[in-house]
C-alpha cells in the first residue's frame, strides 16, 4: 500500500520510495528512508496535502508525492 492509503495516527514502516530520481533523492534526504517509521498525523481540507510525522518533523506532502512512498 502507499502512504496515501494510510490510516491516520497509525505508525507505518516505509518499504520503498519511488518517483522521479530527483524527488526520490530529496525525500530520502528528508529522512523518509526504507524501514523508517512514519504516520499521517493530520488531514488538511480536501485531503491534500497530507501532514506526515517523520524523524521528529511534521512534513506536508502532496498526495502525488505521498503516492511514491510505499509502506510495509
Amino acid at each position: 500500500m502507499s502512504l496515501v492509503d494510510a490510516l491516520h495516527n497509525k505508525p507505518y514502516r516505509v518499504k520503498e520510495i519511488g518517483g522521479p530520481d530527483d524527488e526520490r533523492r530529496r525525500l530520502l534526504d528528508l529522512g523518509i528512508t526504507p524501514g523508517e517509521e512514519l504516520a499521517v498525523v493530520q488531514s488538511v481540507p480536501f485531503g491534500d496535502p497530507l501532514v506526515v510525522m517523520v524523524r521528529g518533523m511534521r512534513l506536508a506532502l502532496r498526495r502525488r508525492e505521498a503516492a511514491w512512498i510505499s509502506l510495509q
Binding site: 534526504d29 524501514g35 481540507p45 491534500d48 524523524r55 511534521r58
Partner: protein
C-alpha cells in the same frame, strides 16, 4: 542602521582575509550553515546584535547576509548566514549557493570555520546535514538550538555525551534570547586557533541517505546522547498537534485562514490610515513651507514639489508596509504561515503555482515590490516566475487613491456603493491573477518542471516581541532602500517634464511679472502635455482627452500620482481641504476642447478603472522584477503585456458600454 548587510565581500581588506587560513588579527570568515528552520537566522541575530530575520518558516534566508560578531564576545569575526539546505543534492538555487560555499567552490566566500545550527528536537535529520559540512574538513562547531522544545517532544539530549559521540564541540544556544552565544564564540575561537586533528565521527558517515541515517540512529542511541521518554519514536509535539487539529480542520481550516487574512488586511488599511494622513499632511506642509521660504526660482520649486513630493509619495505607503511586515513576521515566527501555505497548495498547484506563492500574492495587495522579493522562497523556478508574473495584477495600495477618486466620480453620493465596488475590484483582481496563472501554465509554460511541496510544518512557538520588531524594521527599511530611489528619481523626472516645455508659453522665466512656474495653465505647455497631446489619437478609444493622458503617464512613477496630476491638469485651486471635492467638480464639468461633450461619463470612468486594474503602471516594480529575475526579458514583457491588455480592455469596455447605450 544595522551592522549587517546583504551581499558579498565589499572591501579589499575583507577579500584578503578570506584566504587566510590561520586565525590572526584580521577578521576570519565564519559561515552559519544548517537545515531550514534550524534557528540559524536567530543565532546570526544574537551573534551580530544586528537586525535579522528569525522566521519559523522554511527558507527565509535566501541571500547571503553578512555581519560582524559583537566585540563583547572577543575578536571580531565576519559572519555569513547561508540559506538553509534540505538536501545536498541541491535543487533550488539557494541550496546550490550554500553547498558551493560549504564545499569551498564559491568564488568570493571562503569560510575559515563553520557554525552548524542543529535542531535538538530533530537530531538525526540535522546531524545528517552536519555530516556533509564536517566532511569538508573545516573547523566546525555545532550550535544546538530549540533545546526549550525538547520536553514537548518527550526527548532529552545529553550535550556532553553528544559532544563525545560526535567528536565536535556542541554548544546549546537560544538565538532569540542570546543564551549561549558567548560560549559558542569562545569555542569557535578555540577551534580556529587549534583545529582538531582527529576527524569527527560525522565526517566518516556514508553519503548514502539510508546508510547514514541508520548509522546516526545507532550512534545517538549507543552513546545515550538522545533518549526518548516514551517509545513512540516519532517524537510528535502534542502542543503543535493540538493547534494543527484546529487550524487545519476540514471545516474550520479555511474559515480561520480567511479570518486571519481579513484581519491582516483590515489592519493594513484601517490601522495605517491615520499615519498615512499624517505623513501626507507633513509632506505637503513641508512643500508649502519650502516654497514660501526659499528664494523664488525653478530650482526651489523643483525641490519643494518635485523632490519633496516624490519622497512623500514613497513615505505615505510606509505605515502600510510596516504593518504588513510586522504581521507577516508574527505569522511566520509563530509557524502559522507554513500552515497557510499548506492549505492553499492544492488550489494554487492546480493553477501551476506553489503553496508558498500565497505569501507574495498576499504582500502584493499592499505593494508589488516586497511581493516580488518574497517570491524567492518558492523552490522551483517555473513556479517562482509564474508567481512574479501575476503579482502586478494584485490590487496594490497605490491603486486605492485612484479607485477612490474614480468610484467617487462614478457613484456620487453613495459611499456604500463605492465601498462595495472597491471590494469587488479586490476580489476580481485575485480571480484575474488566478485565471492568468492558469492560462499561462496551461498554454505557455506547458512543461511542468519537478516541483515538490515537501514542506516542513515547524513547531508552534510564541513569537518574541523584540526580534519581531527588529525584523520588521530591517524588512521595512529594506523596502525603502529598494523602492525609494526609483520612485523619487522617476517622480522628479516626471515633475520636470510636467513643468517645463518648449514654445512661446515657456513658463521658466524669472523676469516676468509673476514668475511662478508651477501653475496649472503652464502644464498645458509642458513636455508632458506635448506627449499627452501627441498621444491623444491613441486615447480616443478610451474616450478621454490628452489631460487624462498626462495623468496616465505621470502614474508610471507611482499609480497614486494620477490623482495629484489630475488635480493639476483640471485646474484645482491650491486649497488642500477641498481638493478632492474641487477635483470631482471640475472633472464632472470638463469637456472636450470647446465642445460640450463630457470627458468623464460612466463609460470612460469604468474604462479608466479597467485600465488601472490591468496596467503595470509602476516602473519600480519593473526595476525589481528585472533585478530578481536577472534579465530585462520578463520585466519588459510584463510591462508591455499588462499595459497593452489594460489599454485594449479599457478601450473595448468603453466602446462596448457605448454600444449598450451607456453614455
Amino acid at each position: 542602521m544595522s551592522s549587517v548587510e546583504a551581499g558579498l565581500p565589499a572591501t579589499a581588506t575583507e577579500a584578503n582575509t578570506l584566504h587566510t587560513p590561520e586565525f590572526s588579527s584580521q577578521l576570519a570568515t565564519v559561515c552559519l550553515a544548517g537545515a531550514p528552520n534550524a534557528g540559524k537566522t536567530a543565532l546570526m541575530n544574537a551573534l551580530t546584535g544586528g537586525s535579522f530575520h528569525t522566521a519559523n518558516y522554511p527558507g527565509v534566508t535566501v541571500t547571503l547576509s553578512r555581519g560582524k560578531s559583537k566585540s563583547e564576545f572577543g575578536p571580531q569575526l565576519t559572519l555569513v548566514d547561508l540559506p538553509g539546505v534540505h538536501s545536498t543534492s541541491a535543487s533550488s538555487p539557494e541550496e546550490e549557493l550554500s553547498c558551493s560555499v560549504i564545499e569551498g567552490r564559491h568564488p568570493s566566500v571562503q569560510p575559515d570555520a563553520l557554525i552548524i545550527a542543529v535542531d535538538a528536537t530533530q537530531l538525526e535529520r540535522h546531524l545528517r546535514f552536519a555530516s556533509f559540512v564536517v566532511r569538508q574538513n573545516k573547523p566546525s562547531v555545532i550550535a544546538l538550538t530549540m533545546m526549550d522544545l525538547l520536553p514537548r517532544t518527550q526527548q532529552s539530549v545529553n550535550v556532553r555525551k553528544l559532544e563525545a559521540a560526535l567528536g565536535l564541540p556542541v554548544i546549546p544556544v537560544d538565538g532569540r534570547t542570546g543564551w549561549g552565544a558567548a560560549e559558542l564564540l569562545s569555542s569557535l575561537y578555540a577551534v580556529l586557533k587549534q583545529p582538531a586533528h582527529k576527524p569527527s565521527t560525522l565526517a566518516i558517515l556514508p553519503d548514502d541517505p539510508v546508510l547514514s541515517y541508520e548509522a546516526l540512529r545507532d550512534l545517538l542511541s549507543s552513546s545515550e546522547a538522545l533518549t526518548h521518554k516514551n517509545l513512540f519514536v516519532l517524537a510528535d509535539d502534542s502542543f503543535t498537534a493540538k493547534i494543527d487539529r484546529v487550524v487545519l480542520d476540514r471545516y474550520f481550516g479555511f474559515p480561520i485562514f480567511f479570518a486571519a487574512l481579513v484581519g491582516l488586511f483590515s489592519s493594513i488599511f484601517w490601522a495605517a490610515r491615520p499615519f498615512m494622513d499624517l505623513i501626507d499632511w507633513l509632506f505637503s506642509r513641508t512643500g508649502q513651507v519650502l516654497v514660501s521660504i526659499l528664494p523664488e526660482s525653478p530650482l526651489s520649486h523643483f525641490v519643494a514639489e518635485g523632490v519633496v513630493g516624490g519622497v512623500g509619495a514613497v513615505a505615505v505607503f510606509f505605515p502600510q508596509i510596516v504593518i504588513l511586515f510586522f504581521l507577516m513576521t508574527l505569522l511566520e515566527d509563530s509557524g502559522y504561515l507554513a500552515r497557510g501555505a499548506a492549505l492553499v497548495d492544492r488550489p494554487l498547484s492546480y493553477l501551476g503555482l506553489h503553496g508558498r506563492s500565497f505569501v507574495p500574492m498576499l504582500s502584493g495587495f499592499a505593494c508589488a515590490i516586497p511581493a516580488v522579493l518574497a517570491a524567492r522562497t518558492i523552490p522551483s523556478r517555473r513556479e517562482r516566475l509564474l508567481t512574479i508574473w501575476i503579482l502586478p495584477l494584485m490590487s496594490c495600495s497605490a491603486r486605492l487613491p485612484v479607485y477612490a477618486l474614480l468610484l467617487a466620480a462614478l457613484l456620487p453620493g453613495a459611499a456604500w456603493k463605492a465601498g462595495l465596488a472597491l471590494g469587488a475590484i479586490y476580489v476580481l483582481s485575485l480571480m484575474t491573477g488566478a485565471l492568468v496563472a492558469g492560462l499561462v501554465s496551461r498554454f505557455i509554460l506547458k512543461k511542468r518542471s519537478a516541483s515538490l511541496l515537501a514542506m516542513e510544518m515547524p513547531k508552534y512557538r510564541k513569537p518574541l516581541l523584540r526580534p519581531t520588531l527588529r525584523m520588521t524594521w530591517s524588512r521595512s527599511s529594506g523596502y525603502l532602500r529598494r523602492a525609494g530611489m526609483p520612485i523619487i528619481v522617476i517622480s522628479s523626472i516626471l515633475w520636470l517634464l510636467s513643468n517645463f516645455g518648449l514654445g512661446s508659453n515657456q513658463p521658466v522665466t524669472n523676469d516676468g511679472p509673476k514668475p511662478r512656474i508651477v501653475t496649472s495653465s503652464d502644464l498645458d505647455h509642458s513636455f508632458a502635455a506635448q506627449v499627452g497631446q501627441t498621444l491623444e489619437p491613441a486615447l480616443h478609444p478610451m474616450g478621454v482627452d490628452w489631460r487624462v493622458g498626462v495623468g496616465l503617464i505621470s502614474a508610471f512613477a507611482a499609480r497614486e500620482v494620477f490623482v495629484s496630476t489630475m488635480a493639476i491638469v483640471f485646474h484645482v485651486a491650491d486649497d488642500a481641504e477641498s481638493q478632492q471635492a474641487g477635483l470631482l467638480e471640475n472633472m464632472r464639468s470638463s469637456t472636450f476642447g470647446a465642445t460640450d461633450r463630457k470627458i468623464f461619463t460612466p463609460s470612460t470612468i469604468i474604462g479608466l478603472i479597467v485600465f488601472f486594474f490591468f496596467s503595470l503602471q509602476c516602473l519600480s516594480t519593473v526595476a525589481v522584477v528585472r533585478s530578481e529575475t536577472n534579465s530585462w526579458g520578463l520585466a519588459g514583457l510584463q510591462l508591455l503585456f499588462y499595459t497593452g491588455i489594460g489599454y485594449l480592455l479599457a478601450s473595448a469596455t468603453v466602446m462596448g458600454l457605448r454600444l449598450l447605450g451607456v453614455s
